[in-house]
Each structure stands twice: as C-alpha cells, then as structure tokens.
Amino acid sequence: MTIRSFVRAILPIAAALALTGNATAQTQVGVDIYGRSGAQSIRIAIPFPTLAQPVAAASVHEPFFSPLTRAIAYSEIFGIVALPPGKAPSPAVAKEAGAQLYLDLAISLSGANYVVEARLIDVGSGSAQLARRYSSSPAALTRIAHTIANDLLVHFTGKPGVFLTQIAFVSTRDTSGQRVKEVYVMDWDGSNQRRITSHKSLSLAPCWSPDGNRIVYTSFGRGSTDMYVVSRDGSSRQRIDSGVALNTSPTYSPDGSRIAFVGSQKGNTDIWVIDADGKNARRLTNDSSIESTPAWSSNGREISFTSSRSGTPQIYVMDAEGTSVRRISFDGEWNDDAVWSPDGELIAYTSGVKGFYQIRIMNVATQKTWIIAGTGSNEQPSWAPDGRSIVFQSNRSGKWQIYRVKPDGTDIVQLTNAGENTAPDWSWRIKQ
C-alpha cells in the first residue's frame, strides 16, 4: 500500500476520531510534534528552505515557512518530524529520524519575484512524489505557502485544505471606542487582515457568497438598517432593497441564488428570503414571536432559525419553503446563531446556560449535544469549509476576539488582536 492510498483509506476514521473528543488520547508516534491523531498521520520532515543569494532567511521565515508548517500541521494528515540539530538536512537524515516524506524547498529571486521549488520525496524509495515550481511577488509569498500546503493535501486526500479560504469579521480597530464597526477579511490563519467597508457606521454580520466573490452584511449607514453586498476586495458595493425593515443576519443559500435574512413589518420580525439580485422578497415564517438568525443547511433544503415562540430563544428548523417547522434545541435557556457543518451532520450554535454563553454542537441525527467549554462569553460560531474547525468570538481576554478551535474543543488559536473583533464567517473554498 502506498502512503497515498493508505491515507485515503484511513481518512474517514481520522475524521471520526477527531469528533469523538478522544483524538488527543490516541497513541502518538513519538517524533510527531503536532499531529493530534499521530497514529494515523504521515510523518513528514520539512527543513528550512535552501536560499539562493540574495534571498535572506528573515524575509522567508515569517511570510513563508511559518504559514507553511502551520498549515501542514493543522491538516492532521501530516505529523511534522523534528530533524536532529547539527546535521545537514537530507532525505536520509529524515528517514533516520522516522520521517516517511521529505519536503525539499528551494527559494530564489527572479527579477522582483520569488521562485519557490517544492519537491516531495519519499525517503523510502528516494523518488519525488510531487515536484512543483511557484512564482510570486514578495507580497504574495504567504499565498505560495498556503498553495503548497493545499497541493500536498490534494495529492494525499483528493481535497484541498482550507489554506486559501478567508474569514470575514467585524472590527472596531480603526475607530475610537466602539461606535463604529466595519467589515474586515483575513486569511484562514489570521494573517493578512484588511478592512473592506467604510460606512463609518455600524456594519454587522458579514456572510460570504458560496463562490467567495462577495460578502453580504447589514449596515446602519443610511439611518436605517440595510443589507449590502460588496466584493471581497471592498469594491462594487450595492444595497439590497428588500422592501421591509430590519434586514439583519443575511446569509447566502449554498447555491448562491438566494439570501435569507430577518425582515420586519411593523415590528413583527420573521425569516425572509430574497433573490441574490435583490428581487422577489418573500416571507417564510409568519409568527407574532421574535424570529431571527437564519442559516441554510449544507444542501440548501432546510433553514434553521431562532424563535422566541416557546418563551425563550430556541433553535428551530424548517424546510426552505417555510413549512415543517420543528424545534431542535432543548438544552440551555437562550440559544441562537445556529450554523450547519459542511457535511450537514452537525449544527453549532451559541447556548446560554445559567447566564454563560458557550459554543454548543449538536449531532443533527441523534440531537445529542456537547459544549466547547471556555471562560467568558463564547458566541457566533462559523464552520471551516473542511468541517475540522470552528471560528467564534469570545471575550475571555477582556476584549472580544476571534478564536479557532476543533469541534472537540482542542487546538484553540486566537486569530485577532487589534480592537474588538466579532461575527466571524468562514468562507467556502474560494475558486482562484
């Protein structure tokens, strides 16, 4: 069995283990320094790239080497093997250290561009499994690192990683105090954070279109609350006139053709849906209670939402036409922010228990739930497109920041620092 076919065979097992909460308890192969399910991971050695003059190590480490190793470690497909210090790295040395693969990297300059050559060597046979050449401006060196990590995952699993996806969020960082919130985007690992709106007002709840080209959000810029669609680089902003008030919690259907949102007529809030071009707004719920926060199931056939019809905010599911409404959340006295995992099997949501807010995850089939415990308030989860992580907002540090965590509660990473940062929405896999 080749390494590649072995990985494809064990991949579903590894994913299942990651969700049972026992992943950290798995026997780890001694030399793995990152792999959570070490017994299943491929042991790979990644020496620092060979640099051709005049490329300096300092200009490569943070923009390239760190994001590359971070992405490869995140995948859980690979366990990174530490090479012994004091020996020149080579496939033979890596083999001695227990590695199966050796990622040979060389970086040179061609004019103003970096050229990165990557060769993946099987240390058993000495043959190159993958050999690719990447070229970019210095500013896009991180993008090459993320592309290499994606290519390695495609080679072994048939699916790209999340390393070229992005996370939209809301931040107060460019303003004094919290009076203004704008929409920002960042790379999957928190790098490359940049602002894409400038309403100088409240802009809230960004949500990606499935093709990754646009973001829909709510802004208070006109003295009313309106939906806007903007390109991911901040250009081509357009207001969507729904004909009703409120226009909060907008969210694209998985096929990108529709946007579900919260609309209000004379104060009666309901779940509405509108075509993505701003036409044909129609109401899906018709209740005198408060309805909020719609989310599409991954196949687009169902919509979850929050309703106060039972007396407290709870999660309900209906089909996408608004019929067959049923309550699904029963644990916790205040539940909101439901989002479906990409495979449709899990729903993550914000769950208030005795006044504390935690991220709760429900198995849709069994309705069993578990909580990702953390200090402070923890709200507004969003799934990574590979289903292997969740981003959410927490005030555990005293300020609202965005964190990434595995669904079993392990491997928590803080992604933001400047200002207060909330309402993360992880993109789908973005077509390049």
């Binding site: 009076r179 919130k181 409240l202 809230l204 709840a205 208070f220 003295g223 009313s224 609350t225 008030a245 409120l246 909060t248 919690s249 919260v262 209000s264 004379k266 104060g267 009666n268 809030t269 005198s288 408060i290 309805e291 909020s292 926060t293 929050t306 106060s308 407290t312 905010p313 205040w334 909101d336 922010d337 914000t350 208030g352 006044g355 807010y357 709200e379 507004q380 909330t422 309402a423």
Partner: protein, 185 residues
C-alpha cells in the same frame, strides 16, 4: 375613544404644567393591541416633571441641543423593558404618555424610536428584540394619537449601550426604547 385619549393627554399636560407629581392610571390609559397586562416594575423613569406649555423659545434649528434638553427636562422619556421582553410596563406607558403629550404640542418635530437591549443574550437575536421594543413603543404612541408619519423606528440591538457595567443597574438602563427627535422638513 379618540376623545377620551385626548382628555387623558390634556389632564397630564395640565397637572404637569402645575408642577404636580402625577400618575397616569393604567386603567384609564389606552392599551395598545400587543401590550401585556400592566405591571409595576422599577425602571429609571425619573421624576414626573411635566409637559411645557407650547413654548416659542424652544429652538428647533439645533436638533442635537433640542434632544439634549428634551431628555434633560423630561419632555420626552424613554420606555424601559424587562430582560428579554418587549411588552410595555406601566412605567413605560407613563413615560410614553408624557412624550406623546409633548409631541402633540410640537408638531414640527418627528420622533425616531430606537430599540436597545442589554449585552446579555446574543447580538443577532437582540437586533430582532430591539425592533420589537421600538415598535411596542411606537404603536403605543400611535394609540395616543401621534400620527404614524411622524414616527420612525430603528433597532440597535446591544450595539449602543447607555451604561457600561456587568450588573442589573447598567443592564436595566440599556433595555429601552430611546426617543430621538428629528426636525420635520
């Protein structure tokens, strides 16, 4: 019915102008269609300072200054709510009755009713809750005869707290329908 409402408002106006402490009896106040049974709840409404006589000295040109004075002098009064509720309490109705009286005497201004929530709970749901609070207050003002064309609503959810602090005193201040005057062109 309409006539009775006018009488109620005039009574408030007269007693207010005389500087008396006064209460609107819930039994005589018109009930909006969605209001829950009146209940006494402590809410920071402030003293009943009364409604001024029509006053030519009120300067409509500086709307920010007018709003500052209107709140300070109690010409318009915010309505406060219980946790996760949008029904108007007796105190909230009283505050809105005073506000309606002033609005009636000053037809040149309109009113934006802002719905606000405390920071507990989730921000998306609170935007919807704020919308309901704003409309509870608006519909009560309409039931007191204020023309709908003068009224606007907007929900801020938990985005614009009036008081900071992780205690009931701060939270109570943040659960409100906040009344903001605007000049009708």
């Amino acid at each position: 019915m309409k006539f009775r409402m006018v009488v109620v408002v005039l009574v408030i106006a007269v007693f207010g102008a005389a500087g008396c402490r006064s209460r609107v009896k819930p039994a005589t106040a018109p009930m909006p269609p969605e209001a829950a049974p009146a209940q006494e709840v402590p809410a920071p409404v402030g003293d009943f300072a009364g409604v001024p006589e029509p006053d030519e000295s009120i300067d409509m040109s500086d709307i920010d200054e007018l709003n500052r004075r209107a709140q300070e002098e109690g010409w318009v009064r915010d309505a406060f709510f219980e946790y996760d509720q949008f029904a108007l309490s007796a105190n909230a109705r009283e505050a809105l009755s005073v506000s309606a009286g002033w609005l009636r005497k000053n037809p040149g201004v309109g009113l934006t009713v802002e719905g606000h929530c405390d920071e507990r709970g989730t921000s998306q749901y609170n935007l919807a809750l704020g919308e309901r609070r704003a409309w509870s207050a608006r519909q009560y003002l309409e039931s007191l005869g204020i023309d709908s064309s003068r009224l606007r609503t907007m929900s801020f959810g938990e985005e614009r707290p009036f008081a900071e602090g992780l205690n009931e005193a701060a939270w109570a201040k943040n659960r409100r329908a906040h009344l903001v005057l605007y000049k009708i062109d």
